[in-house]
Symmetry: C2
Subunit: 399 residues, 2 copies
């Protein structure tokens, strides 16, 4: 069976993170993605690295632009209009992440492009959305983390507000937008119509935090800052020091607690009156931690991880990305997606959508494009001849 | 145009977070969701609150189970078999988040159910996936955060590994699974086949961290812990103390930096040799922070947010969830979804998919079901008569 977006063409007006990650997921689901880039320096993320071997091809760019085609085009030039309109005629989906109003001013808003292709699916991604008093505000992931309520929740109680250590909201907005586009393709498949989709990073960020947001909306429950403790708030669902490294344990039930005590050779703690029930363990949590860590210091976090899981206590040593990425579990899962790098003997790997669909191979993908790599090919396909392309190039409209 | 999952029926064998959040999103996209619950106490998340007004209906449960139907069923009883098979005959999608192997042992694995409904879409959600050496390990969000590489990246450099302050990976796995199901519905719509989908929290967690994972995979770049600093690593993309509160600023470009200095009445910093270029600002970042905070202390974070954004410097005061959730921006966005609560005059609000699709109303939804609320209705629809239902109830197979 072909992949879900087989035969679907996406015109990609996006740059940096959320937009390109949206179209990365669409590409991984089988779409053809034509990335439109500024002739001068293209997607700014190309330049997020200063090493010569990654000139114009910074690793963060490579990771989310594999398998796309690139055409340079100065969208502000009048002559670009005809090319955009011809491209849209051949397309199913448009994705853009300019500030609200920019595409309209260029003449490429939804209502403009709908005239060219009546069932076009048009997805706008922005910080705050296309409506509302903040719609014109720019947003970066770290300022959105400040806005979105996550920072006062992260870290130990009493610590200063802390940012999540990766661009979680920017990335999630892009993923959410890809999900939205697939929904719209399904609606078009079933009912024939295209549509406009408005994705805002602030909106999607709050959705990702639904387990904190909904209890506040429903019961005015104030979200609590719990450090490294699990959602259960059990004192044995937390991070502990081991002989070497740190171990995160999830002993929520009485059975898991007893199993934990036996594993660390501290069965005495099971009958200890201070720790006899979940409530008493919460009351005496500082002393409980001390006692547990006496047991845990006899082996390393990695050793405890094995032992505890064998005894039905969820546990994981705290790992860095390099420590998890080559774990045999991931090799077995075929999570990584290989690609070659143009003009180099190097190759790389990245990740796809994360979920596994039948007959959708996400283990190998075409290389990320160099800036404007497919300009001539795409323009020729639109019917432009060599002289016309040369004129555009001389005028600086394509590179 | 009807919503994307109009007419689609989901049989929902899930509990706690990732599974129910998956089917919550499917429900919000128009699917009918039939939640199968244990007759004794149902989904454990019903009991995450001890206040009498939320008995069996804890707010975190309500937030992600609105609009679903609930049938109680003891899946381990032989008599349940016929009911499950009849339900699956009427269904399009099955979602489950037991440990790998449990559904197979019950006789409800993909290969079993495919015999009943050849084009069934069957989505399994688990901690580590259905394959690989760790497949049998249980997982909670906080142990997965330990495993998945995020904790050593979060917090100020030198601080202990820190968990993200909400169940980010559990929630994202559920969202990803909903995305996968919609992809499979689209494939079935286009090509006629159902399929098996395998979603692992570890896999999807690494995908959400792609901006850190890909540069490591491609260039062996070690992800850095940068505290509250933005992805650009600019010293003026960070959190600063204001007169009242903290402000996150995103002054990445020279223009933004100059605008920031002018706004805080410190134009002298623009020409100051210590801060003349991005590189020198990085070198002298401690002194730069001191100077900027002298200017910033004259107004509150909320005031600076207004002023800086007006002058094209992205900025946001650090807000808690209560501080952002009633912001006029969100009212304008119609992000919140209202529902009533059965047997009470109370009503609540929750959130939908976060993205806005044409003709998909996510602003109002039916109430979350009480435990087994729809048991009789669903069994009657399957053709069971009153006496048969009473027999099942007496045997404790339904409640």
């Amino acid at each position: 069976m072909p992949p879900p977006l087989n035969g679907i063409t996406v015109i990609d007006f996006t740059h940096i993170m959320a937009g390109p990650f949206c179209t990365h997921n669409l590409r991984m689901l089988g779409a053809k993605v034509i990335k439109i880039e500024r002739p001068d320096d293209g997607d700014m993320m190309r330049h997020y690295d200063t090493r010569p071997e990654f000139k114009h091809m910074a690793p963060p760019f490579l990771g989310i632009n594999t398998g796309k085609m690139s055409i340079t085009l100065d969208l502000s030039a009048k002559e670009a209009g005809d090319i955009v309109l011809r491209l849209v005629e051949t397309a199913d989906v448009v994705v853009e992440n300019f500030r609200p109003g920019v595409m309209e001013r260029l003449g490429y808003g939804y209502n403009d492009l709908k005239k060219i292709k009546s069932d076009i699916i048009y997805c706008s991604i922005s910080g705050f959305g296309q409506t509302g008093p903040l719609k014109n505000r720019p947003a970066y992931d770290h300022t959105m983390q400040a806005m979105g309520g996550v920072m006062p929740l992260t870290g130990e109680p009493g610590s200063a507000p802390t940012k999540v250590g990766f661009p979680v909201f920017d990335t999630f907005a892009g993923y959410s937008a890809a999900f939205a586009v697939v929904c719209a393709v399904l609606q078009r498949e079933r009912y024939g119509n295209g549509q406009y989709i408005d994705v805002a990073m602030l909106d999607t960020s709050l959705v990702l935090m639904i387990s904190m947001v909904a209890p506040y909306l429903i019961a005015a429950d104030l979200p609590k800052k719990v450090g490294n403790r699990g959602f259960s708030n059990s004192p044995t669902a937390d991070t502990f020091s081991a002989g070497e490294g740190l171990i995160s344990i999830g002993a929520n039930t009485q059975k898991q607690y007893e199993s934990l005590c036996k594993c660390i050779n501290r069965s005495d703690l099971i009958e200890d009156r201070r720790f006899i029930s979940r409530e008493s363990r919460l009351t005496n949590e500082v002393e409980l931690r001390t006692q547990l860590e006496i047991g845990l210091r006899t082996k390393s976090a990695i050793e405890w991880e094995e032992i505890l899981n064998q005894h039905h206590v969820p546990a994981s040593a705290i790992r860095s990305i390099p420590e998890i990425i080559d774990h045999p579990q991931l090799t077995e899962r075929s999570l990584k997606c290989r690609f070659s790098i143009k003009g180099s003997n190097a190759s790389g790997t990245t990740l796809g959508t994360g979920f596994k669909l039948a007959d959708v191979d996400q283990t190998e993908i075409a290389p990320p494009p160099t800036l404007g790599e497919n300009t001539d090919e795409i323009l020729q396909n639109l019917g432009l001849n060599h002289a016309q392309i040369q004129n555009l190039r001389r005028a600086g409209i394509v590179r």
